[in-house]
């Protein structure tokens, strides 16, 4: 027993170090985003603390030789793309997972066909899609060739999430609704959907974040109008400046906001379910 306590302590210390390893670069990035501008570079020492690079991002900084990050339109494109990808892959994922609730021949093939979408490296898919588009004479654009690949990538995640949800799903509730004469559409809205909603939300979250940050699949298929990750990649080719770090800090904060929204929605859904369960119990009593 004493042995186990020592192991536990050692592992706790190790985990703390591990998390430090994960966060180290962020801390450094956060510090350097307050570097003096425009002279200060993306490295130590900090010449002077300033918020120059933050105002530089929003275009408030006095003009200098450093071009502003080309983010305005790129950000809109990325968010639009992520939203469309989220909607389509959640629908596809739910439909396919729904089909998997009954046993059918060839389910193994379909399963691996879908899962293949998240296993093929993005650069290969991007290359293949660019070749296809080239031969068909289709112009490559973020909303066409890149979009379909984003769905190929995120649909498997949505599918797996929904499959896991349906596996833990009590089918008799649905059957009871049908037996009571509730039409299938209404059953789905009133019974099935509320039960799978947490799963749908997770699938949407997966799809949105994966698409928003997706880079290798977009590189060859995104066409002339860049998305956010492509815009960032473009700055790597030239010199990098602390404005990239400031932008990193801002996007992290944005992500936190998104995560909070997700948490609130999830919490509300759980609470509502609990209230409803209470209501039912009171009705019975």
């Amino acid at each position: 027993m004493h042995h186990l306590k020592v192991t536990r302590g050692a592992l706790a210390v190790y985990t703390a170090l591990f998390i430090l390893f994960l966060y180290g670069p962020f801390v450094v990035m956060g510090i350097l985003s307050f570097q003096k501008g425009p002279e200060g570079g993306p490295q130590f020492p900090i010449l002077e603390w300033s918020t120059f690079w933050y105002s530089h991002i929003f275009g408030f900084a006095p003009p200098s030789r450093i071009a502003p990050l080309p983010i305005g339109q790129a950000l809109t494109r990325s968010l639009t793309l992520a939203f469309a990808t989220m909607v389509v892959s959640t629908i596809l994922g739910t439909l396919t997972a729904q089909a998997f609730r009954t046993k059918f021949r060839g389910s193994g093939v379909v399963f691996y066909l879908v899962v293949l979408g998240m296993m093929v490296p993005g650069v290969l898919l991007g290359l293949g899609m660019a070749l296809v588009a080239d031969q068909l004479g289709v112009a490559r654009n973020w909303w066409s060739t890149a979009f379909v690949l984003h769905v190929v990538y995120t649909f498997p995640f949505a599918f797996l999430v929904m499959l896991a949800i349906f596996n833990r799903f009590d089918q008799s509730v649905e059957e009871a609704a049908w037996a009571l004469g509730v039409p299938p559409g209404r059953t789905f809205r009133k019974v099935t959907f509320p039960m799978i909603f947490p799963g749908v939300l997770s699938a949407m979250l997966f799809a949105f974040t994966l698409s928003y940050d997706e880079f290798p699949r977009t590189l060859f298929t995104g066409g002339p109008n860049v998305t956010m990750p492509l815009a960032i990649y473009g700055t790597f080719a030239v010199e990098i400046h602390p404005n990239l770090f400031a932008f990193g800090v801002l996007t992290t904060l944005f992500s936190f906001a998104l995560l909070t929204v997700y948490g609130v929605l999830m919490g509300a859904s759980v609470r509502r379910a609990r209230l409803r369960a209470q209501g039912v119990q009171e009705d019975i009593a």
């Binding site: 192991t7 962020f26 993306p42 296809v132 379909v148 290798p216 790597f236 990098i240 990193g248």
Partner: protein
């Protein structure tokens, strides 16, 4: 007895006539959109890539005259074969390191933290870095590793070194460090998940039977966590094998992986050669994933 056994399967095979066409073929209709999408936008591009790898490459274009020229070029070029070996070496190194570094953390989260809330908090803490753009996470390693980077500054302040360590940045080592940090969470997650699902009574039973902590780990806990390790290894392998951004950003374009070669070739419009490298990379992936999948049945673990 015989009659019922014979009757029941046929009852499944021939649905009652009142069942509508829609009911009977419901799952095919549900499957169709997803399957069509994947066939058009996943299978077709990959098939096209294989096909184009046999096309004739001229200076700025490709023509559909079949040839093995690009393949000969790949197989006879030391640069490309080196890149293949480097990709495999880097993949194995990163995979091994993500396992060695990630497993103890997963063990702590999955087995030693019994409180569900603390477990979730720790896992979320591991995932939060993913909310920053991948490329910015990569580039954040530069001020960490450089000659005047944070690590060198800290080590010098502590008096552990006199001279800054130069090999930390723009080497294969920096690429490895960056990739391990970025991908290790994909190992921690699935392993911690499998570990947290282990039935407590199994461990108690082995303890009651007099097994030492080490034996319990070796004979009970580790084997049960193996599916998680395999899933994690698949994630890490898929991502590392297809990598190019980390390599080019942290090695100053000194470390060329197969992915980097594809990007370069596409950049100079040499599609056929890019396709050859793509096919080689696909081959590597298929072997790796098939080997990993043979260790665990992915569908059963859901």
């Amino acid at each position: 007895m015989d009659a019922t056994a014979a009757a029941s399967p046929s009852a499944y095979a021939a649905p009652a006539p009142r069942e509508s066409f829609w009911r009977r073929n419901r799952h095919y209709l549900l499957l169709a959109p997803g399957v069509i999408w994947m066939t058009l936008f996943l299978i077709a591009p990959l098939a096209m890539m294989v096909y184009v790898s046999f096309w004739t490459q001229t200076t700025f274009a490709i023509s559909p005259t079949l040839t093995t020229r690009s393949w000969e070029m790949f197989l006879s070029s030391q640069t490309y074969l080196d890149a293949l070996l480097r990709t495999l070496r880097l993949w194995l190194t990163v995979l091994a390191l993500t396992f060695v570094i990630g497993y103890p953390t997963a063990l702590f989260i999955g087995q030693f933290v019994r409180n569900k809330t603390t477990q979730t908090v720790l896992l979320v803490a591991c995932v939060i870095p993913f909310w920053t753009s991948f490329l910015i996470r990569v580039i954040a390693w530069r001020p960490m590793l450089g000659r005047e980077g944070a690590i060198n500054i800290v080590l010098m302040r502590l008096g552990l070194i006199d001279e800054p360590i130069a090999v930390l940045l723009f080497t294969e080592l920096s690429v490895i460090i960056g990739m391990v940090q970025i991908y290790v969470v994909f190992m921690v997650g699935p392993v911690a998940f499998m570990l947290s699902r282990i039935d407590e009574s199994l461990i108690e039973a082995s303890r009651d039977l007099g097994a030492s902590a080490w034996t319990i780990f070796r004979r009970v806990i580790f084997p049960l966590s193996l599916p998680g390790v395999v899933v994690g290894a698949i994630f890490v392998s898929v991502m590392v094998l297809g990598e190019f951004a980390t390599a080019s950003a942290l090695s100053g374009r000194q470390v060329n992986l197969l992915g980097n070669i594809i990007v370069t070739q596409v950049g100079s419009l040499r599609w056929a050669l890019a396709a050859v490298v793509g096919v080689v990379l696909t081959g590597v992936m298929v072997v790796v994933i098939a080997a990993l999948l043979s260790l665990v049945n992915l569908r059963r673990e859901l």
